[in-house]
Every structure is written in structure tokens, then in C-alpha cells.
Amino acid sequence: MSAVIDTHAGEHHHGPAKGITRWLFTTNHKDIGTMYLVFSFAMFLFGGSMAMVIRAELFQPGLQIVDPEFFNQMTTMHGLIMVFGAVMPAFVGLANWMLPMMVGAPDMALPRMNNWSFWLLPCAFLILASTLFMSGGAPNFGWTFYAPLSTTYGPPSTTFFIFAVHIMGISSIMGAINVIATILNLRAPGMTLMKMPLFVWTWLITAFLLIAVMPVLAGVVTMMLMDINFGTSFFDASGGGDPVLFQHVFWFFGHPEVYIMILPAFGAVSHIIPAFSRKPLFGYASMVYAVGAIALLSFVVWAHHMFTVGIPIAGQLFFMYATMLIAVPTGVKVFNWVATMFRGALTFEAPMLFAVAFVILFTIGGFSGLMLAIAPADFQYHDTYFVVAHFHYVLVPGAIFGIFASAYFWLPKWTGHMYDETLAKTHFWLSFIGMNLAFFPMHFLGLAGMPRRIPDYALQFADFNMVSSIGAFMFGATQLLFLLIVVKCIRGGEQAPAKPWEGAEGLEWTLPSPPPYHSFQTPPEVK
């Protein structure tokens, strides 16, 4: 292993190329990581502006701003862009930046494929975004694109959507292969699997999940493609097909997918909380086993998204029990984080604020998840705003706060400058208040009976919808502040030392800030 690294290091002593070719042709993990992160933030603003349209329409009862047809396009595109364009690429960006530095490698194992897997993404999203301007409009069948609404009844642009999903899938699979190859082959001497940092562990497991389920997504959209264009009837009952088959296949992808969006955040938070508690992570081994258990269980719970489709009672019971079981490893992780904070010496810089909010709010999302797992109760919660509240609680303060926490934690390392702590704390508090104002009332709306994906609602839902919209506007506007903070940090600021955080641990902090272009030219020794 070390021989490979030595020859590699011997060949490259140059810095980045100049001009646009640096970005187009780069095989450098940091440049590609940066591109992933910039792309993901652009998509976050793009998908976020769609959420603003949705919340503006829902500000008051009645139709004021958009037609129901366009409203459906907004909910669909918001979901697709946030899941595939914002959250997933952000984590791949973090992986690109951090994995080689964390395992003591010079770069990712497969740098050319790394370049390709990034550049496929803008192509995929260009195709997806172009559907907004096509006749018949963009996909309007929800991000879950249930057949036959998305096949027989879908707009003409559906075929473009299918190809966009195919391209994203290829990109994700290549990214995952690269992560696995890097982690399994390029670890520094002495770094056994059970000595790997948790971010590395969670990404390793995430990458296996990606390889397992992205082909399933490709399969389901290919079946749609056949139904739409080549006269098959996979999902058309009048041709002998089965609309419920679509849901089974989709959620076999979809449930592991939600863990793909959260596991890397688990890993990052497991670095940040110990660093600012100045105390080692509690229960490292149980953290690893818990992530493994969550990943395995994620393959056998898919039908909990389908409790009302009429699956047999034995199926209902199996999926209910399996889903409830996920609470056990998830609980272990939360207890470990709290135990890490307990009797530490805590400080609350921006990464820690986001990480603590992550633990609290993700746990609230976990509680509503547990409630949704109770199949009889799910008959009342299903497809209401309670579900919308639940998954926004696990995705916004879960995935997205996890990404913000990571960004602030490693920004000094990436840029060589400290970010503006006051602005970052303002960003946190405005995001925290806005996010809770936007999503907490959705629990009440769902319990009071408001279905999701409706452009207009009965009068008893008016008050909380207005509160929710105000919170959403606040959260949305606040994110521009993050852009300002990052730009400011890149352009200058207080010089960051190699290890800006007193309690931080890991190989990445042994490199100077910013780190050299080829991270570790000689592999460090891990004791």
C-alpha cells in the first residue's frame, strides 16, 4: 500500500492548474470537493426558492400566486432538488475534502472518476431544470413520483426527468465506489478499521447503501420509461401491471436513501461534539455498530411508507416491528452524544451550536418517526402535514444542520482563515428560530387533518400555515448570510492555525491550514 502512495507522491509536486481548466480537468480531491459544495449550495438556494413559492401560496387560504398545476411542479422539484442536488452532493463534497485527510492519503483512490462523477451532476440538473420551461411543465407528481400519475398521467417532460435521475444515479454510484476504494485501500499504516474516524465509518456504510439502492432507483425509472414510451404495463393495471409494485420498488430505494442523507451527518457530529466538549467520544464501538445496524435495518422497513395501500396484516405487522426496532440503535447514538457532552468542558462556537441543535431537533424528528411507525396511528398521520413536519425535522436540522456544522468546523482548515464567529452565531440563531417556526406548527396542522401537497386548505388551518410561512421566509433569507460568511472567510480573516479547535482530534489537524494540494505526501503513522 505504501509503495503505491510513494510513487504517486513522486509524480506530482505541482500546484493547481491555472484558469478554468483547473476546475474542468481537475483530479484533485479538494478542488472536486469544493465544486461539489458550491454546486450543492447553489442547488440549496434553487430548491429553497421553490419552497418560498410554496410557502407564499400557503400563506393564506385561497389561490393567490400560482396555479395548482405549477404548485405541484414546485413541490416535486423542491423535493428532487433538495434530496439529489443539495443534500447528497454536499456530503460527497465533504467526503472529498475530508476522507483523504482523515485516513492519511494524498487524494481519493480514483481521481479521474471523481472528476467525472462531479461533472455529470450539473448535466443532470440542467436537464431537470430545463423541464420547467417545457410544454406541459416540469414533473408535477411529487418527489416520490408514484405511478400511474407519473406514467400514464405524467407531463411530456417525464422522460427528461427519467434521464436526469439516471445520470444522477451514475454519478452517485461512481462517487460511492471512489469512497469505498479510498477508505479500504489508502488508510495510513496502523489505522485499523476500528481506529477510523467516525465520519469515515459512516461514509463507508453510506457508500455501500448507495451502491445497493441507486441501481434499484435506476430500475424503477427505467420501468417508467418503458411504460411511457414503449408500451409496457409494469405499473398499468389495465395492461396487467401493478401500481403498488412501483411503490415497493421505489421505497426499497427510498428508505435506505433517507439514511444516506443522515449517516454522514451522524459521523460529522461525532467529531464536533467531542471537540467542543474537550472529551473523547463516548462509546465509539457502539456508534459504529449502531450505524451498521441502522443501515441493515433500512433494507427491511420500506413498506412503512405504504401502510395505507392495503398490504396484508402480516406485512403490516412485520414492517411496523422492524421500523420500531430502528429506534434502538438511533437511541444509542443520541445517548452517546449526550454522554459525550456530560461532564465535559463545553464551549459553543458555531459548529457546536449547529451540532447540539442537530442532536435535539433530530431527536424530535426521531420521536415523530417512532409515532409514524405505529401502523394504526399511521392511518391518521399518513400523507398529512405531520409527515411533512417529521421529515423536515430529520432533514433540515438533521442533514442540513449537520452540513453547516461540518462547514464551520472545517472552514478554517479549508481556507486557512477563521470565519466570522459573530455572523456565524447569528446565522445559527436565525436558522434555528426560523426552522422551528416553519416546521413545528406543521405537526399541529397534520394532527388537525391537513393533507400534504395541497395548494389550498380549509379555513381551520389558516393560522398555523401563516406562522409556518413566516418561519420559512426567515429561514430562507438567513441562508444568504451563510454565503456571505463563507465568501468573507475565503477572502481573508484571522489566520487559522493547523488545529484551530482545542479539543479536535484526527489526522486532518496535523496538516497546516490550508492543507497542501496533495494532502499527505508520505503516509502518517497511526498508533
Binding site: S135, Y153, F282, I360, M371, A448, R452, D456, Q460, F464
Partner: protein
């Protein structure tokens, strides 16, 4: 500050108050009126309180650490990083809590799945974007369309009390009887939900799902479609009227008589004016959601009828499309949905409205003959 803040406050208050005065601040699920909905409610409350209790403990420890174990308070960090006993305990205790939760949940689920020995069977069919109810035992059925006007939706008229939750023909069921619902759909997947009954079931084309309810309290109960089903997903409410048995029996007789009257309409001699008048009403409920009230449609998914050659010239093609639908598109077969009189009326209306002044008419008898030929 001062004046500006006050002005802003008054402005914001003026903006918010009208909506809030009509609304309420319901925080929780309501227990509903059936055995099932009450069982679900008690499950919901149990799990909610368990979550609250766990939350209090976990967040309690966390906030204690946040407040007491700060570096700024001079707290020195401990160095422990594992404790097998504690870790085993917080794996096993949640597991036991889950088992305790699963027992009543299983019992409720078994009860909800027991659709045997029903007194009345009603077939519910989801259409884009309305419900159809067929009383299988009594051999009649009808469509249930939203009754809220476009003026209310587009803010040209004040919103009524049951805005978006009112229908022309509610489902009527007798109290105290076990009613079995056979749920299916004609086009895309819908979901039939009445929160007060604790009944939600997906309506899936090609499948028949079963569910049931027994309502003891007479009253009007409202719900909505809960599965995204296209443009007007938000505009297909469910309204159920539970009435005493005697009232129900009388209502059934009325329905049977009305169905007979409808059949006689086919035989009647119609004038163009009569057909146009009836056709305009049928168009508004059956066609306008897609093809729009002004016949302009939403191309390319929903083609315009105004000036469309099929509508202005080719009568046989027009009849065929309305009766049999266009397979592979959103155009449904209205032959089984509408009576002959309604079909004749709506086709006649489309051929004469919005400047399609063909002056042509088609009679219910002609439609009847056409359907019989097939």
C-alpha cells in the same frame, strides 16, 4: 423606533387578523367518533407521552451539561469514554418500551383489518377529481363533487364555513351499522380519508381495498383526498352524513326513485335549449377542471375544446372520445360515469359553447343507441 414600530404592528395585525378570526389553533389529534378512531387516539397519546418522557430525561441531562459543564464556568473535562453497563441498559430499556408499545398497536391493527360481517357494502371509486359511491346492496350510485365555487377559491367571494370541505352529494350511511368500504380508483391513486372515523385507505386502479367503520353519532363528517392525484388533488373532499336508520331507509328510496327518473330522461324528446342548459351544468362538474370553464384547456395535457376540429366538425369522433375516453391519456371514459341525458347534453353544449356555434345537437336516445352498438 416608536411610531414606526407601532405602524408596522398595526399593519401586520390588520393583515393577519381576518384570517385568524376564522381559524382555530388546534394542537392535537381529535379522538373521533368511532371505536377505531378512539383506539388510534389513545395509541397516539400513549406514544406521545412516552416520547415526551424520554425527551425530558435525555434533554434534561443534555441541558444540565450545557449549563453546568461549561468551560467558561471553569469545569474541567472528565475522560471516560465507555461504560458497558450503561450502554447495555440504554439498549435494552428502549427495546422493552417498544415491545410494550407494540402490543396495543397490534391489537388495534387486527381490529382495523376485520372487515367481516358487514351490514352494508359501499364501493368507493376515486376519479380525477371526485369520488363515486356505489351502494352495492341497493344497486344505485352517484358522484360526489366539491361544492366550493371557483370564486371562493380565487378570492373573489367570501369563503364559506366549510370552504373546500363541501360536496354536492355526500355519502350517507346509517348509524350503528358496520359499513364496509370497497375502495378503488378509475385513473390514478387516490386516498379516502375521514379523520373522525380513523379510516384512510388508498384507492388504487385495478385493486379493491377493504376497510370498514361503525359510526354511532349522527352528524356530518369531513375529510379529503390524501394521495397526490394531479392538479385538483386539494379539491376533492370527502363528506359523510351519518343518519338514523329510518332516515337512511327513506333516503335510499328517494335515490332509487331518482335513478328511475334519470332513466326516463333518455326517452324524453329534448330541445337544443334544454340540452344546452343541462350541458352547461354537466360540463362544470365533469369537464371544466381539465378543459377549463372557457374551453381553452391547459395544452398539451388537456387540449382546448374551443375551435377544436373534433368538437366543431367530427361528431362521431367527439362522441367516441367522450364515451370511451382516450387510452394512455388523462381523458377518461365518461360512458359509464354519466347518464345518456348528461352525455348528450354535454356534447351538445361543447359543440355550441365558446363560439363553437355548430347548431348541432345529439339526443340522449342517439347516445343510448351508440352505447348499445358497442
Amino acid at each position: 423606533m416608536g411610531v414606526h414600530a407601532m405602524r408596522a404592528g398595526v399593519l401586520a395585525g390588520g393583515l393577519l387578523l381576518p384570517a385568524w378570526s376564522m381559524a382555530d389553533w388546534t394542537l392535537n389529534m381529535t379522538p373521533g367518533v368511532t371505536g377505531t378512531s378512539n383506539e388510534i387516539f389513545s395509541l397516539h397519546m400513549t406514544i406521545l407521552w412516552i416520547c415526551v418522557a424520554i425527551g425530558v430525561v435525555v434533554f434534561g441531562v443534555m441541558f444540565w451539561s450545557i449549563l453546568a459543564h461549561r468551560k467558561s464556568e471553569g469545569h474541567k473535562p472528565a475522560h471516560f469514554h465507555e461504560n458497558t453497563a450503561v450502554e447495555v441498559a440504554w439498549t435494552i430499556i428502549p427495546f422493552v418500551i417498544l415491545v410494550i408499545m407494540a402490543i396495543p398497536a397490534t391489537a388495534t391493527l387486527v381490529d382495523m383489518y376485520d372487515t367481516e360481517e358487514s351490514d352494508i357494502d359501499i364501493k368507493i371509486t376515486g376519479y380525477q377529481w371526485k369520488w363515486r359511491y356505489d351502494y352495492i346492496n341497493d344497486d344505485f350510485g352517484f358522484f360526489s363533487n366539491m361544492a366550493t365555487s371557483q370564486d371562493e377559491i380565487y378570492n373573489r367571494a367570501a369563503k364559506s364555513e366549510h370552504y373546500l370541505l363541501d360536496v354536492d352529494n355526500p355519502l350517507v350511511i346509517p348509524v350503528g351499522k358496520k359499513v364496509r368500504f370497497l375502495v378503488t380508483a378509475n385513473d390514478v391513486i387516490h386516498s379516502w380519508w375521514v379523520p373522525a372515523f380513523g379510516v384512510k385507505k388508498d384507492a388504487i386502479p385495478g385493486f379493491i381495498n377493504e376497510t370498514w367503520t361503525r359510526v354511532d353519532e349522527p352528524g356530518i363528517y369531513r375529510g379529503q383526498c390524501t394521495e397526490l392525484c394531479g392538479r385538483d388533488h386539494g379539491f376533492m373532499p370527502v363528506v359523510v352524513k351519518a343518519v338514523p336508520q329510518a332516515e337512511y331507509d327513506a333516503w335510499v328510496q328517494d335515490q332509487l326513485a331518482a335513478a328511475e327518473l334519470e332513466r326516463q330522461l333518455t326517452e324524453k324528446e329534448w330541445t337544443l335549449e334544454e340540452l344546452l342548459e343541462r350541458g352547461e351544468r354537466v360540463y362544470a362538474t365533469a369537464c371544466a377542471a381539465c378543459h377549463q370553464a372557457n374551453g381553452a384547456g391547459i395544452p398539451p395535457t388537456f387540449p382546448a375544446l374551443k375551435g377544436n376540429p373534433v368538437v366543431t366538425e367530427d361528431l362521431p369522433a367527439h362522441l367516441d372520445i367522450v364515451v370511451n375516453g382516450v387510452s394512455g391519456t388523462a381523458m377518461q371514459a365518461f360512458g359509464p360515469q354519466l347518464s345518456e341525458a348528461d352525455l348528450a347534453a354535454v356534447i351538445t353544449y361543447e359543440r355550441n359553447a365558446w363560439g363553437n356555434n355548430t347548431g348541432e345537437m345529439i339526443t340522449p336516445k342517439q347516445v343510448f343507441d351508440y352505447k348499445n352498438q358497442q
